[in-house]
């Protein structure tokens, strides 16, 4: 008996699942031309679905009969309140200026770090260092070798020949801290431009923030 009851409940559930969703659409005349006659045919035979339809119709009518609540106050906006809500033209201009300055700043930084403004004259720096060392070496004399006999400088020393003094040995350029810097910007003006863009971005941003439209906490008439 219990098993039969269980089966019946399952059948009833299946029956409900099949037909009940159509009832709502039927109430609103939203069933298709194919489905509507099908449902109407079923309703003519099924008392349970007829009851469901009546109950559903009563529910919808109860919802439609809910009266409207009165508003507690007017929700219109005064002129003074509207001024704080709408963005002023100066706000838009400040926004645009901040955005444009920031964009140019990003491009400038990108080009700078990418080496677009890099300096390629590394040789002149090394040549300056080499010239300085040559000047120093030409002015010196190697120490005179002492002869074991009388202590006088030996005339046969190759370092004392006029040719040796006149033509000093070539000097190998030594790497200095200056030459280690491989990319040095020689366009100092870009630094000023970047600083100016930073200043403009900050100033325009601050201006836009100060002029931003703000909604009051609650507008009460």
């Amino acid at each position: 008996m219990d098993e039969l009851k269980l089966v019946a409940e399952t059948d009833e559930d299946r029956h409900q699942a099949e037909w009940l969703p159509w009832l709502s659409l039927y109430l609103d005349n939203r069933l298709s031309a194919v489905s509507q006659p099908k449902l109407e045919g079923h309703l003519s035979e099924c008392a349970a679905c007829q009851e469901e339809l009546v109950a559903l119709r009563q529910t919808v009518q109860a919802l439609q009969a809910i009266p409207a609540l009165k508003i507690p106050r007017s929700f219109t906006i005064s002129a003074a309140q509207a001024r704080t809500l709408r963005p002023r033209p100066l706000y838009r201009a400040a926004q645009f200026a901040a955005a444009a300055a920031a964009a140019f700043l990003i491009i400038s930084f990108g080009l700078d770090f990418g080496g677009f403004f890099a300096d390629t004259a590394i040789a002149p720096v090394q040549a300056v260092v080499s010239q300085t060392e040559e000047t120093t070496l030409v002015g010196t004399r190697p120490p005179a070798p002492t002869c074991p006999n009388n202590g006088l400088a030996c005339a046969q020393s190759a370092a004392l020949t006029p040719q040796a003094i006149a033509t000093p040995e070539p000097v190998t350029p030594v790497a200095t801290p200056l030459a280690v810097i491989t990319k040095v910007s020689n366009f100092e003006g870009i630094r000023l431009v970047e600083l100016a863009l930073v200043g403009l971005t900050l100033a325009a941003g601050a201006c836009a923030f100060a002029l931003r439209p703000r909604a009051p906490n609650r507008l009460r008439s």
């Binding site: 009940l20 529910t59 929700f75 906006i77």
Partner: protein, 243 residues
């Protein structure tokens, strides 16, 4: 029957053509033409479109006229979704603030749907971030009203109705209101928009940004669940009344 023969001036008989038999022609009826209610609705829509255009150009008075048109609808929708008078008033005010600021983004279509969409989004945000405040829910208001003799419930009704009908109607409204609050938010929204606010399926699609199939499905399930809740509540109250 007397047959009359006609002759022209030249005395030749005039042969009259046989009377024409007109086929049965169905003249178009006025069924396709807009009735008075529809004409009035179209006029109102055109008036509101002009108000919206003026408001977009900065005319505050035009915007406030639109507020007056829709404030009751927006407030009632918010109340049915939030079940709190203060929260509903705040949501309604926020709706018009947002609408005023976003007028530049309105690109035509149904202004009503656009406004109600803002309202439903704000109500949803409020529900998600809800902080329990002293309740001004429907039940609390009705309890207060019962103590004060049913005065000032805040409904817009005619005062000339029968007291018994009045009481029965309030009881029914109370039951339906409580049952609505038991629905999941998505179903409650669709049921309120359709059956309380009277929007069509297509308007609900515009307001909720759901598909038509989703609207139909949620409405059907919402109504069925509401019917179940009402039936259950009545059975419970019938049991309470038994000695």
């Amino acid at each position: 029957m007397q047959v009359i023969k006609l002759f022209n001036q030249k005395k030749t008989p005039i042969v009259l053509p046989e009377p024409l038999t007109l086929p049965e022609v169905e003249f178009p009826t006025d069924a396709g033409a807009a009735g008075p209610a529809e004409v009035e609705a179209n006029v109102e829509i055109a008036r509101q479109e002009k108000l919206v255009q003026s408001a977009q150009q900065g005319d505050l008075a035009a915007f406030n006229e639109l507020v007056i048109c829709y404030q009751q609808r927006v407030y009632n929708l918010s109340y049915r979704l939030l079940d709190d008078r203060e929260a509903a008033a705040d949501a309604a005010q926020d709706t018009f603030i947002h609408a005023y600021r976003a007028l530049g983004q309105y690109r035509g279509g149904s202004f009503k749907s656009w406004l109600l969409r803002i309202a439903t989004n704000l109500c949803y945000d409020q529900l998600r971030a809800k902080v329990r405040r002293p309740s001004t829910s429907l039940e609390a208001i009705l309890e207060e009203a019962e103590e004060s003799g049913g005065v000032a419930l805040g409904y817009m009704e005619d005062s000339g109705s029968d007291p018994q009908d009045h009481a029965m109607r309030h009881e029914m409204v109370r039951e339906v209101g409580l049952a609505l609050q038991q629905l999941p938010y998505e179903q409650r929204l669709i049921v309120v928009l359709s059956d309380v606010q009277g929007l069509s399926y297509e308007e609900i699609v515009e307001v909720t940004n759901c598909s038509l199939g989703t609207v139909k499905s949620r409405l059907s399930r919402g109504r069925l669940k509401l019917r179940e809740h009402l039936q259950k509540n009545r059975e419970l109250s019938a049991e309470d009344m038994r000695p």
